[in-house]
Symmetry: C2
Subunit: 119 residues, 2 copies
């Protein structure tokens, strides 16, 4: 990465909800931003933890046994192998960090699978 990243400016370049964009790398981890609105899909990542930091709005990370409620300035790491389903009623903005090659829908696949693009 040659320069700093202004997250607000990068959000202006994003497409719709659940269409993440890559804003940089930390070693072999992609630094991604995404808008969330509505429910995502239940999925898990068997090979990696999954980092969420909420920047604006409110996000619920549904787990099979409970919900994790996240406001701005709150982060949650979904442990590897744990099924989860993010949801936001109103549009929320998040920073996501996971290894390169990690599909957004994990093991679930389907129509919400998005190839993140470099912003």
């Amino acid at each position: 990465m040659d320069d700093k990243v202004n997250l607000d400016a990068k959000f202006e370049l994003l497409d719709g909800p659940y269409q993440p964009g890559i804003v940089g790398h930390l070693n072999n981890y992609k630094l991604q931003i995404a808008k969330l609105k509505g429910p995502f899909v239940w999925h898990k990542h068997d090979e990696t933890d999954d980092f969420f930091l909420v920047l604006s709005g409110h996000v619920t990370i549904h787990l099979r046994d409970r919900d994790v409620e996240l406001d701005p300035g709150e982060l949650f790491v979904v442990p590897r192998g744990v099924e989860h389903c993010p949801e936001a009623i109103e549009e929320a903005r998040v920073l996501l960090i996971e290894p390169d090659g990690t599909p957004n829908t994990g093991d679930a696949g389907g129509p919400m699978t998005a190839e993140p693009r470099l912003l």
Copy 2:
């Protein structure tokens, strides 16, 4: 990590500037918060990039050939092997991410080397 992390609440548990605290892990990466005030030390990490996200205040990352000026909501990844020296005139708060075992002072060592504690 069993629960979410409220970053503001965790900052209340920190000691002084440049005394980082670990708030969680993403695989083998430590998620750290730190207050910055004053200049740090010039150093580099030959084995890893170094992630900075400014949460409040203003941070200058001095590089040998330029300064990177960061406001809240801006991030910068110092590439591995690149000498840098963070500085904040007034207290600033940052989220730092780097592999477990990465010393805060990199190759420089010295009195500002801090063993991060789990908050």
